[in-house]
Symmetry: C2
């Protein structure tokens, strides 16, 4: 009896062909590869870990300093391809993709993010509309705007800039966005389909898609790697952990209730952090040679108590570059790629709406 059970277990562990790869996204291909193309039978498959030098890495790896991911260069490549695609769409069917952004209130960071998104749309030829509502608007007023954008034929992506003021129900408003225009990927249908093997979400949250894009373009293998994601927010950590799992990484999610998180993070081949706490990840949290993707983004006051602010990530960069093999900096790492993923999601939504393929 026991012997028979052993045989079944051994069969399950049969090694697979080495031709498996976790990187179906080739650098110059913008069409989103369907996640189901990643689905594989769960049979054991070891894969070698290798972080090759890519043109998007600022300097080659040596034993003292990590190679820095050049997120702006990746974003520029993507935006150039999107611009060509938008141009082709315009020439072909006389239509361009449209993005509708709803901004409630006057938060400094939200205003800045919306400005960046609007500018990025302009750069590639996507039409963008920003609807600004006062801080004290009602939920019904926001829902009315969502409804108008949902029904507007020239708008293919609808985005509600988060966070919303406390008196508004974020869940109700996000759930009101048409699933087919949910370019942020925060609708539960898209999130559920992202989680489930065999399912294809219409949209993947931009930061998570940006993280995978960065790893793929820097030739970092994901399949079979130990990945630790710090943070579990709807915007960053949660969808990123789900997406990395769909890419067959072994994912552990660390949060503030994790005891001795450094004992878990220091086992990671790839470390992703997205909690918005500057300096949280120290050098001794890292395994030598780890790939570090810093998705944190916090406004920090400048030196000498000046009035200037700058953006900083979760990782103590000065310490991390001495342990990591590859690192994405803040700013200039995943951030610009995240914006380009929003453009890509919008273009894909428009292509689906018009049933247009290049």
């Amino acid at each position: 009896m026991l012997e028979m059970r052993c045989t079944v277990a051994v069969c399950w562990r049969i090694l697979c062909s080495k031709s498996f790869s976790s990187s179906p996204v080739t650098p110059n291909r913008l069409a989103k590869p369907p996640l189901v193309c990643l689905d594989r039978p769960d049979i054991w498959c070891p894969a070698p870990f290798q972080a090759e030098v890519s043109s998007h890495l600022r300097h080659a790896y040596n034993e003292h300093t990590a190679a820095e991911i050049d997120g702006r260069s990746i974003a520029n490549d993507i935006k150039a391809t999107i611009a060509t695609e938008v141009c082709n769409m315009k020439n072909s069917i006389k239509k361009v993709p449209g993005l509708g952004v709803i901004l409630v209130g006057k938060r400094k960071d939200s205003l800045s993010f919306v400005r960046i998104k609007k500018k990025a749309c302009e750069q590639v030829g996507i039409t963008s509309v920003v609807i600004e509502l006062p801080e004290d608007c009602t939920e019904d007023e926001v829902l009315d705007v969502v409804s108008v954008l949902n029904h507007k034929e020239s708008i293919h992506g609808v985005l509600v800039q988060l966070p919303l003021p406390n008196h508004l129900c974020e869940e109700k408003i996000i759930n009101a966005v048409n699933v087919e225009k949910d370019v942020d990927g925060f609708h539960p249908v898209n999130m559920g389909n992202l989680a489930m093997t065999g399912r294809e979400p219409l949209f993947i949250p931009c930061a998570s898609r940006g993280c995978i894009e960065v790893l793929n373009r820097c030739n970092v293998e994901i399949l079979g790697k130990k990945v630790v994601v710090i943070g579990r927010s709807m915007i960053g950590g949660l969808p990123t952990s789900l997406l990395l799992q769909r890419h067959h990484a072994t994912v552990s999610v660390v949060h503030a209730f994790t005891k001795n998180p450094e004992n878990i993070t220091c086992e990671a081949d790839i470390l992703v952090s997205d909690v918005g706490v500057p300096n949280l990840v120290r050098g001794d949290w890292l395994k030598p040679g780890v790939v570090v993707i810093d998705m944190g983004s916090t406004l920090v006051k400048g030196e000498n108590n000046s009035e200037s602010f700058h953006v900083t990530g979760d990782v103590c960069y000065e310490e991390a570059i001495r342990k990591a093999s590859v690192i994405s900096p803040v700013p200039g790492g995943v951030g610009p790629v995240t914006i380009s993923m929003l453009l890509l999601n919008t273009v894909e939504a428009a292509k689906r709406a018009y049933k247009w393929t290049q």
Copy 2:
């Protein structure tokens, strides 16, 4: 500058009050505690690990043998409470909960599961209807039955017995189930809301809910524990990992692409396995004192090549009882509790439909 960032990080790590507990479900309370009641700000919080002896454990822990979880006794307790609730509902509003099951084909295991579910419904006073369709039925025929059950007022839970024959699209059929009757919890809206902090799924998949129920009733603390889930299926591993994360465990998901899984599993305070591979988890995969929840279920031929079959789990029980502090056996562990969770989901659906509270 660096100093300031350090201060912020230290603030984030401030220890919380010890009064936090991850077990809002008390053994005799059947109403599903809202997941959002578990939501907490992500500030660091160490919690002591203690597996107290419960009345549902067959024998107390000693250094050589694990205490065995008595799933049948837990399920009987739950069913007794459900039966009382159904009786009260009948007396109060002259209605009883109804479950509609769709069975396609004549798979031995599916027939057996449907029979068990039907019998469990009878035991507690829930009306059940089983619609049997031939193996070669069309997708439209299945969708028609789903639609009829969706609209039937006396049916509050609709369940499609899986797996379906290959020619039928499981995704299309499951997505057609009314979200408010999705007692299996497999609809992407429910799965997405299970994944996202702050969201409340209408239903949690029965096996996952059963796993938490077992841990709670055996006084196993979840918050802050290292949990390893082996498997990532829609039915078991995936929702269980999401739910355990909502309960603030630090969750790692191991699958067949994980290299040296035993190096990860042997760190777990709680190990959950749901892959359907007998004998996969050996004694050397376990940390001494671990709590083992075996959710695997495979029909295995009896000894001496006899024609009899019996159900077996993923864990090599003989080895595991010498390492674990608590173990759920197969059969008689999470299985019966899973069935009682289906009854509970159906009762909750009926209560919502009739806006009835006890």
